[in-house]
Symmetry: C2
């Protein structure tokens, strides 16, 4: 399975602005440890999570619009310069109309006609939207695309299930992408997405609940199990992820990328990447934000940019495994 044979790389996409909105309420792990009867320090030790944000009365469209405003300002463009709004998350405020129009309205763009589209693929929805955007920019269909990923994962938390309720967080993050201006290096050098529904329930592989369904609430409970069974996780990772990476970017070695941004699903999914790449080049934001679903990728990009961990011209790997079972990877020059 290769999706790359007919593409003329690089695909001309440049991230020109990043934004985010974090719910006002910070939930420290100590609060949840008390609530769930867990020992002090359990969340950080077991999950790698020190705190996370949970929404109060913030809505998806409110959070998305705030993140979008910051991204447009960061890009130095007017909101009216945006010619496509892509929402890329599995959370949604209303079934119809979708979040795009709701965000458009909150941005004061209600009469502009700027089109709205939703692109999803579980927790790699943001990467899927980047991929689609690259082709839309390449064909000339659009010029300034706003991608907004907002997740409220904490709508129905079960406090009798500490492995889940302590891990999840809410967040919104957005980027503005444009067609790479002539002479600049930004672009996608390789992109691949692979879905193996055989592994949507790989109990036969992992002797219980598989890696594949890591992001379903009912399975996140088994993150616990994973913690005690690193062999099965490593087996799933070896079966799919390492071969996937080798196909995506055959010359990859531990020094190929300035930064590797994995799916911010759990300490496990991040530690897994540290098997292949130097620890200090693997981005992790779960200590501060927990698992924010599909918002993890753009929020990690935001943090990487703002912390100066990536600069213009740097080669970055975005790669994650998610429910489906789907793997997705993008190699890009920022």
């Amino acid at each position: 399975m290769s999706n790359n044979r007919n593409v003329t790389y690089p695909l001309p996409i440049k991230i020109v602005g990043v934004g985010r909105y974090l719910p006002g309420r910070i939930v420290p792990s100590s609060e949840l440890e008390a609530k769930c009867g867990l020992p002090e320090g359990w969340c950080l030790r077991k999950q790698g999570v020190r705190e996370r944000r949970w929404v109060g009365d913030e809505t998806i469209s409110f959070m998305g619009a705030e993140a979008a405003r910051e991204a447009a300002a960061d890009a130095g463009i007017k909101l009216t310069d945006i010619d496509l709004i892509i929402t890329a998350a599995h959370s949604f405020e209303k079934a119809i109309p979708e979040d795009g129009p709701l965000i458009q309205q909150r941005l004061g763009l209600a009469g502009t006609g700027i089109p709205c589209l939703r692109v999803t693929a579980a927790c790699v929805s943001f990467l899927a939207a980047l991929d689609v955007s690259a082709s839309l920019l390449a064909s000339g269909r659009y010029r300034n695309i706003l991608i907004v990923t907002t997740e409220i994962t904490t709508g129905k938390l079960d406090f009798s299930n500490p492995a889940v309720c302590t891990l999840m967080g809410d967040a919104s993050a957005a980027v503005v992408v444009v067609r790479t201006p002539p002479g600049e290096a930004s672009g996608i050098h390789a992109v691949s997405m692979e879905t193996y529904s055989e592994a949507s329930d790989i109990s036969s592989v992992s002797g219980g609940v598989g890696h594949s369904t890591l992001f379903r609430n009912d399975v996140l409970a088994d993150d616990f199990v994973f913690d005690f069974d690193p062999q099965s996780v490593r087996a799933a990772g070896i079966k799919y992820n390492q071969k996937f990476l080798a196909r995506l970017w055959p010359p990859a070695n531990k020094d190929s990328f300035r930064l590797v941004i994995p799916n911010q699903a759990s300490r496990l999914t991040i530690d897994f990447m540290k098997l292949s790449f130097p620890s200090d080049r693997v981005m992790s934001i779960i200590e501060q934000f927990g698992n924010c679903g599909a918002a993890g990728f753009p929020l990690a990009i935001y943090e990487a940019v703002k912390q100066g961990r990536i600069s213009r011209g740097d080669m970055v790997l975005l790669e994650g495994m998610t429910a489906g079972f789907t793997l997705m990877g993008i190699v890009l020059t920022y």
Copy 2:
């Protein structure tokens, strides 16, 4: 607002196969008229609907896989030749994993890695997926894309609300699209999508509930109102749709297209197109299928192809208004 300035048309997309799955249960209007205490002939006279299909135990992934099989066979390709599955509907079987992986599994493709993506924009989701596919084919990202739109709209019917429950139907339809082979005429000549969230509640325009939200269940009830107030519908149509069409395809006249396929939302949305184009060139399938949400477009394409109403080389307009408020139009050579 024009999205077309930078595209080199035609975008190289060819529909090479069509498929569908219709639920086994045919619900004649007489059955609903009896159930709802309506006069005999009401559904056909008021709604233009003679019968519709409602699911029994059919699921979204089952219906989608059946439609996909027929589309692949019609295209003369093996299922394993597909290199992307796009699901494009607002119905979904599970939040995670999405319908794409579920359909992939039912097609016996569970170990292939064929990626799955979801693209939605209310009832123009299928058109949005066609648009995205055209750019993905143009960039070389994919070669054989399966688009599946399955809607089960009848999950929560309110039989005290005859205007809604008599209108809705269930269906799945699928197409296989490829990059247009050299020397062939198939392709997209113009495509545009515009979202006006100002009209997500245009009560000030229509004096009640607006055209914009036509596809929300709570508003479909007001189709009734529309029936008695054609002026307000015409006003909304003139405000948005006729200008949209003029921007989409400036040379358009009543003879521009071999066939015009509008959103199959109601008799009204179809009759509206007959104001601009000859009646016998405006495709309608609602008499037989009712409003099948986003599945209306691909099902109408299926019928148009199988009934011989469009042939290779014919110029076709696909155009619809949907919740958002979003307008989308595609001019293509089949």
